[in-house]
Amino acid sequence: MSWLGDVWEGFSTVLVGMNITWRHLFVKKVTLHYPEEKWQLPPRSRMRLFMKYEDCIGCG
Amino acid sequence: MDAAAIHARLKDRFGDKLVAFQAEGLQPWAVVAPDAIAEVAAFAKSDPALAFDNLMCLSAVDYPKEDPPRMEIVYHLFSYEHRHTFVLKVHLPREAAHLPTVERTWPVANWHEREAFDLFGIVFDGHSDLRRILLPDDWIGHPLRKDWVDPDFYNGMHVKPTEQMAERAMAGEKIGVGPFDVTPPNRHVEE
């Protein structure tokens, strides 16, 4: 009977997974439409490199 | 067991094979003679009172300025059963350093020893597969030694701008291929 149990478990977990992916069809998407919307970079962000030429001592 | 007790137990068993012991410091260590390390390791693992079943780390350190200059292999041991740690060290001559392997005792030492061989040139006698591990197989030399000098060439390629290249660049020749222009930046300054 473990065979039947296995088959049933395989089938039912597939259904559980399908239910989750199905629900996600209706969830609000997290995509950021980049060039149209931009997120506000936090003030400490180091995303953009910059250099002040006057202050640069050319150490490296 | 604390470090002194561990050392005493090892000293009992191996006598003058344990060359030195430092009890002070953050992590006390004992120095083992190179030829005895395999036996010491096997004992440290099999002895029920010590039961060092885990080799946490195997490192090599180069001390060229010490007197006499030496290499050190450092074994950081840990016992899952007793939850105590200990440090074994082996002092080796800098040239043609070799010592027995401990991979039969702690299989994890296999890769650690390969790494020490790769980067320091220390030969582990009896190691099952002593090849380079991190560096390419055709690399020459052992870069983590303190007397290591960067080579100018690797497989016929310049790996750093040589003086001849600098001269050619000064003469206005474009060196390098494509976007990888290795023209020294100071050329413009001197002009």
Partner: protein, 395 residues
């Protein structure tokens, strides 16, 4: 084909009429087949995106509608690279064979009561036989590529398709027992009379299981997750088409999606009533003395629903291993299929008129209604869940 044949004037010589009719059908089918995947790929990318909380393609055309067109064009204009040491002849022949294999099944698919190229009396047999041709193509591709991964993929696909043919054919037998004919058109006609007369709802616990088995085996035959081991991208890079690029790669793609559609159509013909509407009223739109038949639309809708389920499964499930795949085929699907064949055969012998079997009236309709009610509930529940979740997160 008969339709086109009859439209041509009598004066045209017979062989020319046959030839012309065939050509017209071929052109129509090839167009259908080539354009279909463009739609499926778009749907699949969008669906994958939605299931993963993102939106999928959106740049090319409105809502990314032209994305697949652009992809197809790109693939067509890309250079086809022949790997060194490849058997060039086989290398080119392989994708052609795969596409031909997928395409040939179209010939007998009944899209409507008369919309069928040829109504072969061994139609079902033909579909099953022809769909195996693509295996030869896959093995060819794997061998010709001179790549170990491709070879692995080819070997796996051979083993897989050969094994999954058997349970598929077994459960097809149950349908054939009910109808007593191998012609697809006859099979569809045998399901006349709305939902509960579809073979899916006959002999309540038996035929739904048969459908599931057929669908599973179909999934395996078109190499879709969870049975996509021939191309398992995390194991075999891309399996048999590792070395393919440009248009040849596009052909494999085309064949895969076409095969998905073919399997879905066959499944809906066998179990979901083919071109019959779920409720007889919806079969055609009466417009005075003529009426517009909706049969093809119903069939395509059913097939697309199954294609959707295939995609849904693909983005839900992990992949099986080779030995587990064989386990599923030989130790799960095949025994059940055999039991089904015997049981259905016995029932048919016991009560020869399948439609008169009392279970259908008492179980078929309630079951169908429950099923559809549950589907509707699922949609509502999912929407409610997502709204509640959004509200909770905002708090």
């Amino acid at each position: 084909m008969d339709l086109v044949f009859k439209l041509l004037p009598e004066a045209v010589p017979y062989w020319l009429r046959v030839g012309l009719a065939g050509a017209v059908c071929a052109v129509v089918l090839i167009t259908l087949m080539a354009l279909g995947p463009i739609a499926y790929v778009y749907v699949e990318t969008k669906l994958a995106g939605f299931m993963q909380d993102r939106i999928g393609p959106k740049r090319v055309g409105p809502h990314g509608l032209l994305q697949t067109v652009a992809d197809a064009l790109k693939l067509m204009f890309k250079e086809a690279i022949y790997p060194a040491g490849a058997d060039k002849m086989l290398f080119i022949l392989a994708p052609c064979l795969v596409v031909i294999g997928a395409f040939l099944s179209f010939v007998v698919l009944p899209f409507g009561s008369h919309l069928q190229t040829v109504d072969l009396n061994v139609g079902l047999f033909y579909v099953i036989a022809v769909s195996s041709i693509s295996t030869v193509g896959l093995i060819m591709a794997g061998w010709a590529s001179n790549n170990k991964y491709a070879l692995f993929g080819a070997m796996r696909s051979a083993a897989q398709i050969v094994s999954y043919e058997i349970p598929a054919v077994m459960v097809v037998l149950t349908v054939v027992t009910l109808v007593g004919s191998l012609s697809l058109q006859d099979i569809v006609r045998g399901q006349q009379g709305g939902l509960p007369h579809w073979f899916l709802f006959r002999y309540f616990p038996l035929m739904p299981v048969a459908f599931l088995i057929f669908f599973t085996a179909g999934l395996a035959e078109c190499n879709r997750t969870p049975f996509d081991i021939p191309e398992a991208e995390s194991e075999l890079v891309a399996g048999f088409h590792t070395e393919y690029s440009g248009f040849f790669f596009a052909m494999f793609f085309l064949a895969e999606y076409t095969e998905m559609f073919v399997v879905s159509v066959v499944a809906s013909v066998l179990f979901l009533g083919g071109w019959w509407a779920p409720v007889p009223v919806l079969q055609e739109i009466p417009l005075g003395d003529i009426s517009i038949g909706l049969g093809p639309l119903w069939l395509v809708a059913k097939a697309w629903f199954l294609v959707f389920v295939m995609m849904w499964l693909r983005w839900t499930l992990p992949r099986l291993r080779v030995d587990q795949l064989m386990y599923v085929a030989w130790k799960v699907l095949l025994p059940i299929a055999m039991v089904l064949v015997v049981a259905v055969g016995g029932l048919v012998l016991w009560r020869p008129t399948a439609n008169g079997f009392p279970w259908d009236r008492w179980v078929g309709w309630p079951l169908t209604s429950v099923l559809f009610a549950y589907l509707a509930y699922m949609i509502v529940a999912a929407q409610r869940w997502s709204r509640r979740r959004a509200r909770e997160m905002a708090a």
